[in-house]
């Protein structure tokens, strides 16, 4: 193993960088705060790279493991380790943090240090969630992520930010508090252990499995979010500043999907299988119904928020189909959605920074003034619609294939998203970008700045690379997913 505790570095470096940024103090030192945040974010990404290069994708089990006693009284360990699933999410997270820092560079001009620090700390905490192999450690990181996000939405958000921030916080807290009860149950029934590995081996009677499953389900379904507990997301997205929306969509939603994979499935496999029909139906409702809802939106951010819910429906659908192609597809979809939704929110952010409106009706003919922007926006819109050759296609296609193996109608309904997704995304695109120049404000638009072009190019490369050559991603996942499914297939009833 490495001499340097890599995972700890990946978690704590951004957090320490965030604290350092906080100490730059007031807005007089905004330049320094920005610079320090950028250095911190890039350093966070760079230290995560050895995880990728050092990861052995043919080995099963967890890698880069660290284990120290943490709270003796509860037998809690500071236990970290990653498999293929967490690896991809950690890299996505570190990558997104860099983007967010760059995206907020000019736009945020009040309390810059706090803004940057919140994102750096959030990034470290989310890495913690993806690395934790101990129930309590997982929960601590999982919950702690709420605090910076709450502040980000509430301080730098739109006019209705207070409502959105509180709703976001209380909704997610409700889910996770019940999960805490489930954790305590598991702790007590495993004879006083919070280790995931002990929980994976623990036989649990069916009735208890169902209750534990439901508690976890509530926590993670709120995060994902699934219908019918999704209503916080459009509010939060609309009010959050661009960076907040990006992180929320790209990473925070994935905490839910990750939770299903890391906790629900392996700890209570029998209940997961027994209730999979229920989850699948909710996922399909998300895909189809929320897709229709997205069609009716007049606010661009809201539209993308609903589109996120619809796409995350694919993730939960894939996870609960229990075959390797669907589960891998779900994870690929998570990563791809991370890129695409981040890109779309950044695109809206670019427009919003210039026009201070998110209403589709206020735009029209943007292509005449911003041709470069329009082409990037086009690419991401197509990716969101699932065009082959973009990352959006890969995950959706895998999930649909997996669904077809299980039930024709699942696949049929899931495939409806390809039509709906294309409809709402491209219709929005048409109304905003094409046509005659709608008004004087549009006529006065400037095209992308160098800074904006930079993150557009980077995201475009990611989206295309993943769409054309997804093998590196699936390769990493293969063993982890197969292990997981093999574990889930075994009954844990006593």
């Amino acid at each position: 193993m490495n001499a340097l505790p890599l995972l700890s570095t990946v978690i704590w470096l951004p957090i320490l960088a965030g604290i350092a940024v906080l100490f730059t103090g007031s807005d007089r030192n905004a330049g320094l705060a920005r610079l320090l945040a950028l250095v911190g974010a890039i350093a966070g990404f760079v230290v995560a790279l050895p995880l990728w290069t050092g990861f052995d994708s043919s080995a099963s089990g967890f890698q880069f493991v660290e284990r120290e006693q943490w709270i003796q009284a509860f037998n809690v360990y500071y236990h970290l380790g990653i498999d293929g699933i967490s690896l991809l999410l950690i890299l996505l997270n570190c990558f997104t943090t860099v983007l967010v820092v760059i995206a907020g560079w000019k736009v945020i001009d009040s309390r810059v240090a706090q803004y940057m620090a919140a994102f750096l700390i959030l990034s470290g905490l989310m890495n913690g969630v993806f690395c934790a192999l101990d129930g309590l450690l997982f929960y601590v990181f999982f919950e702690a992520t709420l605090i910076p996000m709450f502040i980000v939405i509430g301080v730098w958000g739109g006019p209705n930010r207070v409502y959105a921030a509180l709703k976001f916080f209380l909704y997610t807290l409700m889910g996770s508090l019940l999960a805490l009860i489930a954790l305590i149950y598991l702790y007590l029934s495993s004879g006083g252990s919070f280790s995931f590995f002990d929980w994976y081996m623990l036989p649990i009677p069916f009735a208890a499995q169902v209750l534990v499953f439901l508690a976890f389900f509530l926590a993670f379904a709120v995060k994902v979010p699934m219908v019918p507990v999704h209503t916080w997301l459009p509010d939060a997205h609309v009010e959050a500043p661009t960076g907040g929306s990006v992180v929320l969509a790209a990473i925070m939603l994935k905490l839910g999907g990750y939770g299903f994979l890391r906790l629900s499935l392996p700890i209570v496999p029998d209940a997961s299988q027994a209730l999979s029909g229920f989850v699948i139906v909710l996922s399909l409702i998300a895909v189809v119904y929320i897709g229709l809802v997205a069609l009716a939106q007049s606010d661009m951010k809201k539209l993308i928020a609903y589109s996120s819910i619809s796409h995350m429906g694919f993730v939960t659908l894939g996870i609960f189909l229990f075959n390797s192609i669907a589960v891998e597809g779900a994870i690929i979809q998570m990563i791809s959605h991370g890129f695409i939704s981040a890109a779309l929110f950044l695109c809206v952010g670019v427009l919003y920074d210039r026009m201070h409106s998110r209403q589709i009706a206020d735009y029209g003919g943007v292509v005449n003034r911003m041709p470069v922007f329009a082409s990037f926006f086009m690419l991401f819109a197509m990716a969101n619609a699932g065009l082959p050759g973009t990352s959006g296609f890969v995950g959706e296609f895998m999930v649909i294939m997996g669904a077809a193996k299980v039930n024709f109608w699942y696949a049929f309904l899931a495939a409806a998203t390809l039509i709906l997704g294309a409809a709402y995304t491209l219709w929005m695109y048409k109304r905003v970008v094409f046509g005659a120049v709608a008004n004087d404000h549009v006529a006065a638009l400037d095209d992308l700045s160098a800074r904006e072009t930079l993150f557009m190019v980077v995201l475009a490369i990611c989206v295309l690379f993943m769409g054309i050559y997804p093998a590196p991603f699936t390769e990493v996942l293969h063993v982890s997913v197969n292990d997981l499914l093999a574990h889930v297939a075994k009954s844990k009833l006593p």
């Binding site: 919950e143 301080v155 509180l166 916080f169 209380l170 019940l178 805490l180 009860i181 149950y185 007590l188």
Partner: protein, 484 residues
């Protein structure tokens, strides 16, 4: 004629209390000869007294020793609680210094009363005899009543003092009545002997005992401020000068916890089935009413009063689990609670100034603009009270919840969790005011350096203990294990 023998009891276990008594009298005497401008001498002497007292407790043997004909016990639990009391009282005095100075209460009486209240708490913590327990409680209560009334020109304060006195006297009466029944049924006032008397015999007077327990629980409920005996809490918290409110709201809860442990656990453990049910009712009612009512408050002191009620519900939940695990977690909770309430009231004191009480929620508006550092301290405090990681409040709730769960009260744990969700709402509102709103008052915040230091340490301690909770948690669990 037989000469009457007065054996000198072993004074060593009670040395900190004896020192405190002597020092309190010394401060009282010295203060008389001090001019107004050298009042700081009393302040410094009081702090030194508390520090020395804490050191004397820490440097004790750590074993369980009885003295004064087994009326007084010194065990690890008592040591931990006493040190916490001394630290809490010292913190309170530091926080309150400017506040009481601005309001003309910077007088020797306050320091002496604070020291006597501390002595009362320490005696309560170490009592193993009903009478001594009662004496300690009264010493504490009388000192507190007078402290509330210290601002004698304030109608609110005098009213609060009166209310506190009457209801407190009623509670003491209930407690005393309960004690008399226990004495009647067992023929002894020593807690250990009571325990063996109840356990040993097939007691025919069990209904008397049951009634006695009911009165004791009612008295405890009053002192802790648990629903339905909570009526005095919001009014007294609100009416008392804030520097006194922080006193009432923090250190005495440690002593009240000791009262519960000595009475119910040491003395009446074999009646656990009886008091468990009673405490269950009290704690559920406290959790529900405390949290729901706190939402409606616009005054921060009242809000914290209701939040205290709900926190006491959590403490009682830990106790009613009825095993070492539960007692340890309740103790951890109560110490954590004291830390949090000190910081919360400390923030009110920080923002208050001459002629201005920063006790309305709106006074915290835009604090992040005025002082990011103190806003951050309050943020930690609020999240800790809400029980969110990574703050120590989370582990306190976790400890209690797992104890309740393992005692089989699963639905209670679920209810407690839902109520902490409700609680999160009003704590978040403070965070919202501080961070999301613009300040309406831009007076610079210029505390004394000692207050600045202590408040920062207090705030950060919640974060540090939230990241590394092991030491405090282990301390509580181990001290309970060695004491029972």
């Amino acid at each position: 004629m037989q000469p009457i023998a007065f054996p000198i009891p072993d004074l060593a276990p009670a040395a900190p209390e004896i020192f405190l008594l002597v020092a309190a009298c010394a401060v009282l005497l010295i203060d008389v000869f001090l001019a107004e401008r050298s009042r700081w001498v009393s302040y410094v002497l009081t702090l030194i007294t508390l520090a020395v007292c804490a050191v004397m407790v820490v440097t004790g043997t750590g074993a369980t020793v009885y003295t004064f004909s087994d009326m007084f016990v010194r065990d690890p639990m008592a040591d931990v609680l006493k040190v916490s009391v001394c630290v809490a009282v010292a913190t309170i005095l530091i926080y309150g210094r400017t506040y009481i100075g601005d309001r003309g209460m910077y007088r020797g009486e306050l320091f002496v009363l604070a020291l006597f209240a501390t002595l009362g708490m320490m005696i309560m913590i170490s009592a193993s005899h009903l009478l001594l327990l009662y004496l300690g409680l009264e010493l504490l209560s009388l000192a507190l009543y007078s402290m509330v009334a210290l601002q004698r020109d304030s109608r609110a304060a005098v009213e609060a003092a009166m209310k506190y006195f009457i209801l407190g006297a009623l509670a003491s009466g209930l407690l005393l009545y309960g004690m008399s029944m226990i004495y009647g049924a067992t023929g002894t006032m020593n807690l250990e002997q009571i325990a063996s008397a109840i356990a040993g015999t097939d007691n025919p007077k069990v209904w008397v005992l049951g009634l006695g327990v009911a009165f004791l629980v009612a008295g405890i409920g009053f002192k802790l401020g648990a629903v339905p005996f909570h009526m005095w809490v919001p009014d007294v918290y609100h009416g008392a000068p804030t520097a006194v409110t922080v006193f009432i709201g923090s250190a005495p809860k440690l002593a009240a916890f000791a009262l519960v442990m000595r009475l119910l656990v040491t003395g009446l453990e074999s009646m656990v089935v009886d008091w468990q049910q009673m405490l269950l009712l009290l704690s559920i009612a406290s959790l529900v009413i405390g949290n729901l009512t706190a939402i409606a408050q616009t005054n921060l002191k009242r809000m914290l009063a209701y939040s205290t009620i709900s926190h006491m519900g959590f403490v009682l939940l830990g106790v009613l689990s009825g095993d070492l695990n539960g007692y340890g977690s309740a103790m951890f909770y109560v110490i954590t609670y004291v830390l949090m309430s000190l910081a919360a009231f400390g923030m009110i004191l920080l923002l208050s100034r001459d002629g201005f009480e920063a006790d309305m929620l709106d006074d915290f508006k835009g604090l992040n603009r005025r002082s990011p550092w103190y806003a951050f301290m309050m943020l930690i405090t609020m999240f800790s009270m809400a029980g969110l990681p990574p703050t120590v409040g989370f582990y306190a709730k976790l400890a209690v919840l797992q104890a309740v769960f393992s005692a089989g009260f699963i639905w209670v744990a679920v209810l407690a969790v839902l109520m902490s969700l409700v609680g999160a709402f009003y704590y978040l509102r403070i965070v919202k005011l501080m961070y999301f709103d613009e300040p309406k008052d831009v007076t610079p915040i210029l505390p004394h350096p000692d207050m600045r230091l202590v408040l920062s340490v207090n705030g950060l301690s919640m974060l540090v203990l939230g990241i590394l909770p092991q030491p405090l948690m282990a301390l509580c669990i181990v001290s309970i294990q060695y004491s029972l």
